[in-house]
Symmetry: C2
Subunit: 87 residues, 2 copies
């Protein structure tokens, strides 16, 4: 069992109204020194069995076709945690 | 300048309908072996100046009061990238 994280963010050149709304609110809330905020999605996938190259390729394919809109979004795939069965 | 990432996820005991919808669709799309999917938010903050303990504490406070609803969500704060000024 392993946890694979897929992070999906808008491409840098795409306007991020949600991120901008957060950023504009920060000074009003007393938080200075944050020059930019971008907001995206984080998916945590619990994957059965070993996360070998083949499994990662499948998850990459899944992210590309289903979790991200690759016209406007970029994504990254990371293995975060490997839980040994039976420990 | 540094990039600080705030990940906001629903607490494990909270039902995640979005994550479940993704997980139920996977077999239909030909993706097997993913036993659970949870969906959350990822915030990338570009912070001016050094990210010392005081800055991290402020960002932790910002996340707790503004980016996450701590009744139903957990959050983590990570420094992802430190860009030296002028490099």
């Amino acid at each position: 069992m392993a946890r694979v994280v897929v992070d999906v963010m808008l491409k840098p050149e795409i306007l991020d109204p949600q991120g901008q709304a957060v950023q504009r609110a920060l000074p009003r809330l007393g938080f200075e020194g944050v020059s930019d905020v971008r907001q995206g999605k984080r998916f945590e996938l619990e994957v059965d069995g070993p996360v070998d190259d083949a499994a990662l390729a499948r998850i990459h394919e899944l992210a590309e076709s289903f979790l991200a809109n690759t016209v406007i979004e970029d994504f990254t795939v990371k293995v975060e945690e490997v839980v040994e069965a039976g420990k």
